[in-house]
Amino acid sequence: MDISVDDLAGGITKVVLRGRFDTTGAVVVELPFNKIVTEKRKIIVDLSAVNFLASYGIRVLLVGAKIVKNNGGTLVILCPDSNVAKVLKTAGMDALIPLYQTEAAARAALAS
């Protein structure tokens, strides 16, 4: 699994995750992901290139969203309709972390 960071206009940080966000993948990205959520305040986590998500990945996202909120910031998820989105919704994450299908919508949510 890969993680990369794009700084967007308006102080928004886009964290792009790629690959299988299962236990094996989550262990790889957990530390760099935690560092970003501790330092940044407006975060889009882009799951467009994530083709699989399991509970350990959900745990990493939820812990990250809690840290950002605790620091007075907002974390949103960009995830097109897919089985990955279905996992997020089944786990009840859509009620806790804002979920957007397009980058424009995710950016607009963080711009206000």
Partner: protein
């Protein structure tokens, strides 16, 4: 393509084995199942086997986890057998929806995901072993117009 096919994999209780499990499932489902059933199978087996690896043994006791896949027409059956401590996931209570991000509990979604993505789930304790059977059914193919 044969109408009925089966495969078996034996794993140890080591988190590194999950990667081997994922590769093996991918090999089995390729050409045999729809992408949605393949995804559901990958998810349910990852969750079930990760639970056994993390909680099935006291301390570092070695465990044997056997996974069997059998496809018969539109039906796919996965059986997971382990010699770890007794645990019936079908009796696990559903998670309580959190009211806010602050209150949300981390963890406890794995069994809920299995329940939601598998078509059926059955548990037996037999000869000191846990045996979890998961069923998946291919959705009917829409008739061509």
């Amino acid at each position: 393509m044969a109408n009925s096919e089966a495969s078996r994999l034996v794993l140890r209780n080591d988190v590194a084995e999950l990667k081997r499990l994922a590769g093996w499932i991918e090999g089995f489902t390729e050409q045999r199942t729809s992408p949605d059933v393949s995804f559901a199978l990958q998810l349910c087996l990852e969750e079930a086997v990760a639970n056994i690896i993390m909680y099935g043994a006291a301390r570092d006791d070695p465990l044997e986890i056997a996974v069997e896949l059998e496809r018969n027409g539109a039906n796919l059956v996965a059986r997971i057998e382990d010699n770890g401590r007794q645990f019936d996931p079908t009796r696990a209570p559903p998670p309580v929806p959190a009211r806010s991000l602050e209150e949300a509990k981390v963890g406890d979604v794995g069994i809920h995901l299995i329940r939601s993505f598998a078509t059926g789930m059955n548990y037996e304790r037999r000869n000191g072993r846990n045996r979890l059977t998961l069923r998946f059914v291919e959705p009917p193919v829409a008739p061509a117009e």
